[in-house]
């Protein structure tokens, strides 16, 4: 299929807006060809995941674009970087590595991106609107924007996100289009007590199960008897986008494109119906834990980045002090950290002996000292990736479990909700 290009598209390819914009447009046009897109469409916002420093190639790509004078043509936020810009020296980040990660941060800022440095851009003033066409990277942000806000983005990989931001153009494909947004596999929740549905720890577990089972199909969840909070939906999406290839989910009666089951499935029948009951949830919960032995080195919260509401939930749980052998870390954005400080929510964290890291997270930054081998978290995403990325063992628990374990110096989990 021939790709229909506008006059400006052709001008970009010809180098009218400089060599960097031409490179970006060449990449966009080739991707359009692969997806047999008939045309490109305009986007009005971007979120760049390519900020995470991985190695020379990605730094070289960013510096080549910036050096060739690239500028983003639409409002563009930045995902987590490789380090806490002003706090990395308190951790084990090698300084040679830091120098490169800082160069990568500078290159993206030079292109005119907003230094938001967060994986939860949907919880900032830059959240997109319903129906808005955007190009977002960062799997958890993509799934939240599509599912909870009803904005429209494909799952943009690193490097393509910045090409979209520079040109303001993307292939008309995938989740940008109506016909690819309906549900394909139905998850029917049955016999799950409302008490458990209200608990925060239910959502990463449900997300893990849904992602793993749905694979690359759009899941529809039906049968929830409560209305989940934004942070619960964020936890669900982040876990589903880790275990599966999920860019969009629907929850009947909750998310904006799923007022009814029929609407979520676009009037069709689901290709598969999966019963979600307590035994299957217990199994998914077990999979999130790779080790829950006696010792514990670190309790870590905030993937995706902790929100102000989550700091509000955490503060009253913090009594006494963490065990001397257990670090207690919250990862968030600099903007939320500032608000939490102003709201008096960091006092209890300081008194507990907790620490705060902004701009990055333990998966994106080599910040943890090597002796940290045993982790505990309430995040499905941390639980999913920590064993591979950090070679650490991880225990998944609720927020309350995490605080209690940090004080006790060992993993302690309340099983009551899961054994009903």
């Amino acid at each position: 299929m021939d790709l229909a290009l506008t006059e400006r598209d052709r001008g970009l390819l010809a180098g009218d807006e400089g060599p960097a914009a031409a490179l970006a447009m060449r990449i966009i046009a080739r991707m359009a060809g692969i997806f047999q897109a008939a045309s490109l469409l305009d986007i009005t916002q971007a979120h760049i995941d390519s900020t995470i420093y991985i190695g020379e190639a990605n730094l070289e790509f960013a510096e080549r674009l910036a050096g060739d004078g690239a500028r983003v043509s639409i409002p563009t936020t930045l995902n987590v970087s490789g380090l806490d810009e002003h706090g990395w020296r308190e951790w084990s980040v090698p300084s040679a590595w830091a120098e490169k990660a800082l160069r990568q941060m500078a290159a993206y800022q030079q292109m005119g991106c907003l230094p938001t440095w967060t994986c939860a851009p949907y919880q900032t003033e830059h959240a997109p609107r319903f129906g808005q066409q955007i190009a977002w990277g960062e799997s958890n942000a993509i799934v939240f924007a599509n599912s909870v806000l009803g904005a429209r983005t494909e799952r943009y990989p690193d490097l393509l996100d910045i090409c979209a931001a520079i040109t303001g153009r993307v292939p008309a494909f995938g989740l940008h289009l109506d016909e690819n947004r309906h549900g394909e596999v139905l998850f029917q929740i049955e016999g799950v007590p409302p008490m458990l549905q209200r608990d925060d720890s239910f959502y990463p577990v449900l997300g893990h199960l849904v992602g793993k089972t749905a694979g690359d199909r759009v899941p529809v969840i039906d049968g929830l008897s409560i209305e989940p909070s934004a942070d619960q939906l964020k936890a669900l999406g982040a876990a589903a986008a880790s275990s599966g290839n999920i860019g969009l989910f629907h929850i009947v009666g909750v998310t904006p494109e799923a007022p009814t089951r029929q609407a979520a499935l676009a009037g069709g029948a689901p290709g598969q119906v999966v019963r979600v009951d307590l035994p299957s949830l217990r199994q998914a919960r077990r999979e999130l834990t790779t080790g829950a032995g006696e010792g514990l080195d670190l309790v870590v919260l905030g993937s995706p980045h902790f929100s102000l509401a989550e700091f509000r939930r955490l503060a009253p749980l913090l009594h006494g002090r963490r065990h001397p052998n257990v670090r207690f870390l919250v990862t968030t954005s600099r903007a939320v950290a500032h608000l939490a400080r102003r709201a008096g929510l960091l006092g209890p964290l300081d008194a507990f002996g907790g620490q705060l890291t902004v701009d990055t997270c333990i998966l994106a930054s080599p910040m943890l000292p090597p002796e940290v081998r045993r982790l505990m978290t309430n995040s499905g995403k941390y639980a999913y990736y920590a064993p591979g990325l950090l070679g650490a063992q991880v225990a998944f628990g609720s927020l309350e479990d995490c605080v209690r374990s940090a004080a006790a110096g060992r993993v302690s989990r309340d099983e009551t909700l899961w054994t009903a």
């Binding site: 991707m31 997806f35 190695g55 020379e56 790509f61 799997s139 990989p157 690193d158 694979g215 880790s242």
Partner: protein, 147 residues
């Protein structure tokens, strides 16, 4: 006997190597170590296998958007698979290959094949990928002894 699979090149190129096959999708971020070429997703069936220089067959990439960055770094460092075979158009792998071509003039073929052909692939067979997307296999299963 050699067997030929007709694939569709998403990003054309020539490669050959021993197949490394899984029906489970993989996120390269948290799943592949670009320093060593090892698959490090401890929940993945290929965990511990070295994918560098092999023809890696996966249905698609799951999870993180950073997969592309990890794969591009691996192409630069010489720890990438020789080629990737998928069962459908796959943004993450194809993009890494396109950018590798732009930046390093280094061909890294990504080819999509039918699910039925994918099912014939087995780790260990020798695969040769041609620029037109034709894949020639020797060793392993053939169409005749398919169960």
């Amino acid at each position: 006997m050699d067997r030929v699979i007709v694939g569709k090149p998403l990003v054309p190129g020539e490669a050959s190597g021993q197949a490394l096959v899984s029906r489970e999708p993989l996120s390269f971020w948290g799943g592949f170590d670009h320093r060593t070429g090892e698959i490090i997703d401890r929940r993945h069936p290929l965990s511990g296998q070295v994918a560098a220089g092999r023809v890696l067959a996966l249905p698609y990439a799951r999870g993180s958007s950073t997969t592309t960055a990890v794969l591009l770094e691996a192409v630069r460092a010489g720890t990438a698979p020789a080629a990737i075979l998928t069962t459908g158009p796959e943004t993450f792998f194809a993009l890494a290959a396109i950018v590798a071509e732009e930046m390093y003039r280094r061909p890294f073929p990504v080819v999509t094949i039918d699910s039925a052909d994918f099912d014939l692939l087995e780790s260990g067979m020798h695969l040769r990928v041609a620029p037109d997307g034709t894949i020639t296999s020797s060793g392993g299963k053939t169409g005749d002894d398919r169960p």
